[in-house]
């Protein structure tokens, strides 16, 4: 005769497994120390960001309330610190699993702004700017893209710099600059009217006359990130704020290569978030008397989502191995950016789709990721530009100039 416990177990079916988007256990390959950092980020995103982010997104607003708790994580120096590039990538992935806007804010500051100073600044500049930025007391942005010149297309910058004694005069516009409407300091790229070379400058947003930022309104993606149209009219910047080791447009390429890798990780994370939301929803949503996860057509989408997620993780994982060995080339990063964003578009569409009409309500988490994916797909060089960069490397022929 079965025991009371056995009977109870029979009546209460085994609970369904929680979704797990790390199917090939990529995160387990970190050292214990780095794993702990990743877990810390994961928990922060789940407990602090996830509960409030949909509301900010709907209102096109940035959650300044998160900056104080973020300081406590002590990860502001991550991207310029002595960590594995795998950890840096996985942190971007984990953040984006919950909110790619947050990753963008964080990446623009710690990767693009701080990363540029670390890479192309003088020792003095590094000493001056990096510590307060790492403590998030001062937030940065990165001004390369212009209204008429996409970041992926290279060269042709219209913003100018003209030296007058120990001062540089900057004139021009920068568009789409994340964090710009509210942050403290901007890396600005401009063409020197004298030698026609592209140079980089550290500009203090709030104290530089002639420097103004208009917030870009009415976005339908990455709505949490505040993007700005920067206008510089005769901005005066001291020579001490010129990046001392940035001597040509080519020097921005180092930064962009890492940025494109970063978008690869973000696109992977977005897929993970969308996948997990989809699994949960389909385990709970009942139609025809059973969870819709029981239907083959739904499982087909679930399985294909997970395959996309896993392939992107594996691709980025191998990319970081190359990166760690100093072998990362532009075309490697372009391929990763193109592939992961293409798969992401597919994955988020499937995830939204299994939610039916409920998938268009932002509160259900997937609509936001679906929309945000479009920004990732297009920024840091469009799908077409990435493919042309890869195509040139593959065939030896350029098809874009």
């Amino acid at each position: 005769m079965p025991s009371a416990t056995a009977l109870k177990q029979a009546r209460e079916p085994k609970p369904l497994p929680a979704p797990n988007a790390d199917f090939y256990q990529i995160e387990d390959t970190l050292s214990a120390e780095e794993r702990a950092i990743l877990t810390k980020v994961h928990d922060f995103m789940e407990t602090r960001v996830a509960p409030i982010i949909n509301d900010y997104w709907v209102r096109d607003a940035f959650p300044f309330e998160l900056i104080e708790p973020l300081k406590e994580l002590n990860i502001g120096g991550l991207n310029v610190g002595d960590y594995s590039s795998r950890l840096k990538g996985l942190v971007a992935m984990e953040m984006s699993r919950v909110d790619p806007s947050f990753t963008t804010f964080f990446g623009v500051h710690t990767g693009l702004a701080m990363g540029t100073i670390a890479l192309l600044g003088s020792e003095e500049q590094r000493q001056k700017w990096l510590p307060p930025m790492a403590r998030l007391e001062m937030i940065g942005c990165f001004g390369l893209t212009e209204p008429l010149v996409g970041s992926g297309t290279g060269g042709g910058l219209l913003t100018t710099a003209k030296r007058e004694g120990d001062t540089w005069i900057l004139n021009g516009e920068k568009k789409w600059i994340g964090n710009a409407p509210w942050c403290d300091v901007s890396i600005i790229w401009a063409r020197d009217l004298d030698d026609n070379q592209v140079k980089g400058f550290i500009v203090e947003n709030k104290t530089t006359p002639g420097f103004s930022v208009a917030k870009i309104e009415n976005k339908m993606a990455l709505k949490v990130v505040q993007n700005g149209l920067i206008t510089m009219k005769g901005c005066r910047v001291p020579e001490a704020n010129r990046l001392q080791n940035a001597n040509s447009f080519r020097d921005t390429a180092h930064v962009l290569r890492e940025t494109r890798s970063g978008v690869g990780w973000m696109s992977t994370g977005v897929q993970m978030g969308a996948y997990e939301a989809a699994v949960k929803y389909t385990q709970q949503r009942i139609q025809f008397g059973k969870p819709i996860a029981s239907f083959q057509m739904i499982q087909d989408l679930i399985a294909k989502m997970l395959a996309n997620v896993t392939a992107c993780q594996a691709l980025m994982f191998r990319l970081e191995e190359l990166h760690g060995e100093g072998k990362l080339l532009d075309q490697h990063a372009s391929l990763a950016k193109a592939f992961t964003t293409q798969r992401m578009r597919e994955t988020v569409a499937w995830a939204r789709e299994v939610h039916g009409a409920n998938g268009i309500i932002v509160d259900n988490n997937v609509g936001r990721l679906f929309a945000d994916a479009e920004a990732l797909y297009s920024y840091e060089g469009t799908f077409q530009m990435q493919n042309l960069i890869v195509g040139k490397a593959a065939t030896g022929i350029s098809a874009f100039v």
Copy 2:
């Protein structure tokens, strides 16, 4: 020696052609009289709706200011009038070319609400309700879908009706009901507790105690349409407001079949709008010194968009011929809904893509259509449900019950 005119012409290159999304000239197949109606709608959408709709979309608001000018078009009776079904479809397509939210508002009122009364009401009911509704003095909605019962899945309604003398008592919830938060009259479907058959009722929203509507907030698609969650607690409706010729759930099928065809036309129109925006943008946007429309990769997307548009038009065109001959079956409409919405997803994604980062700013017209497409893809029966309806007809075997 060339004349001054010739020199001028040489300097001013031939202007690029305006985009034309009616590549196979479907609209030319209308009679002159019907063509005039379509042109009137086209002009209204271009001159009245297009200039203001992005702003309403961003604010999740409905443009009530358009109702007065819409009255002047005198098309409120279109869907119950003696017009060709081709015209009705092409009007939905033309409206959706500019704004599918507007088509949804219009279709819910003139097609679902008025159409149901025309089809399933008594002569007396038709006389009473249709004229003021045709004059847009009274706006209607259609309450079938419930929180736990999708419109595509059939049967199983949880809303109940109980007759007490000449009064019916309604209890239950209806979800996703377009126009409901502000309109005047609702068609409500409920299961009669006595005979277990589904019956339809005309409910006056604003004067029926126990009838309340909560607006569904935080949508990321069709944001202009106001959708409601209707709650009915002991609503009392006179027998005179019961649709006299609606005797079972099967009677809703007539209405839904036409609705699904309608979504087919809308999805075609959305693609046309996205396509035309894309052509215009790529003719104007300069990269590497020339319009991006000059690049093969862009033309590839343009051509594939136009092929999608044209195939959807042709499919709907043939569907309406069947319709006109009284041969339209559920599975025909399901195939059209599934095919056109699938192609639409592809088309709007390509259109958004060629806009690069500018495509995520709603002001550029394409981001809104990209997002709205998701609602069309999922409502009136998901892609999966449509395919299962077609699959059952094709194989003789049901895979969903």
Copy 3:
């Protein structure tokens, strides 16, 4: 007590419906007279071609045994006769449903070869050549494509013609010419060395010295069609065999436009054949104790196949309406060729897929169609060329010269 009949019916379940790939009843739009011709072709394909064609395909051989019975159908003059262009298209579709190689043989002869003579020959030439060709006593081919010049790319022919008195001397090569290895007469396009214009010639294969044809071996698609590499070394052709109304390369465009429409119909027909094979197989193949047509994942593919088929039919249907009204332009035909072949690739892959491993055995009918589709996809102008032709019409900018 149930009757014996009732019991018998209960035991014998209703047979599953036969597959029907004309879901929107396009064929019913023909006149009764034309419908009878179509039915005759349908029956011929089913009873004469289908039973033997797989075997010929495997052996790369042409079924000459079918020419006698084909003569009895009396349709050799179809494409130059006074029939609706819809009928001509539907005949190509019905033939291709069973075997696109057979349609190719028939189309090259009756459409390309006879069609060119009808369109560009003198009255005398028409009188001389068309009657025996219509009786299939003399079979023709069409020599435009060259080893280095694809048919889709226009101009640049390397084959030359040089007039000497009343004789023309032809030199050059033509590649991929269907029927050429065995047929009687070839339409050859060559560039006149004197005026640099492209002219057309009727060449008698078997009696013209210097005219030789090598069969193209080792094809993996359309294996039943015999394609030839024609070599002309000093071939002498009388002025009487020069097409009297063909004065430039532009004149071949009329022919190619119709050919591309024809490939649209063929690609539609191939999909119908693949779809019907798939439905039949999935109704019969048992896994997990039931027909695999019971599984949602299979129905998903079935429904999407049928949607592709129906959309292609509807597109071609509308194209022929334009054609009949004299409004068919190159870009219309290019769009149709590109769209239908793209959908075909999808459809035949799904059809092969539902057959599992059995789908790679040619005897199961679907592997042949899967492979043949590749030839249709690439011939008469690649997908890329068609899209560039459409893209040029759509944007006003050429991206290929």
Copy 4:
């Protein structure tokens, strides 16, 4: 004044780079010793197999002439030897880059047949059978799939075994068995009529009465592999030939898991071969006066192919790390099989496509890979079965029983 050398260099443009399908340098991660083995295999495939394989494929014939030179490579024991699973995978990938039929022959023998004996045989059985098989003096096959029971569907075998003393009597059919029509020894799986468990047997093809094999004819994929329909009528097999450690159907799962991983590597290799053929062709094929590799539409396909290749390599690379750590589960292998074969279908279609009509001539190398891909896509469990296995793991719900 420029030197003669400089002038000469200017006139002779830099040669285009050779295609390289190992974009993320996966092969460089092997140890030097294992890298040498891989190089040996690579060279064998390029110099011995590539030059003759198209001809065998066209004729549905197996290249027995290659067995002697293959013996000299001394790799017959690879899959049961003490090598990294990464090497085993990369060898399958390298072989399939040139010919997946050859990999199938080799994998069936060294992986399925030898692997089963190594895993489930007794020490005595291993000693007896493995050495001659490793020397390729005796070739094996693997009989699991039956006409009515696919390998992916599990259980339900209809082949029976009945013990009589020290002899087993086998009856039944096995379908699709690679190598069977000519090889020496077969692993046969059958259901024991006494205990209903599945057991495995080593059957000597040529000396066992009642054992017959019919070659499966008319394949359109993997034509080089000879597949057989094995019929067993009262075959008598000694108890000594029963696999001593195979006690249930579950024991075949170990073997199948590795087989599915193997198909993942093969599908990756097939893509590499197709990609490299495509790059070469597009660098050489001239249209509009330049290599077609110059056109954006072609580079788009090249870049997407390379992204597919690289993602599949990275996925398999990570899978093998899990494998090496003993963490490989069925669902991991199923995901890899599904993902890589799906991407392969895309890649080979693009590769064939850039070849235009020339892509359907087998001699150009790509048509064969295009066709072969279909077998890989369907064997060892269809795409649908793999997705259902993944879907079950992901959601906790089985949708296939």
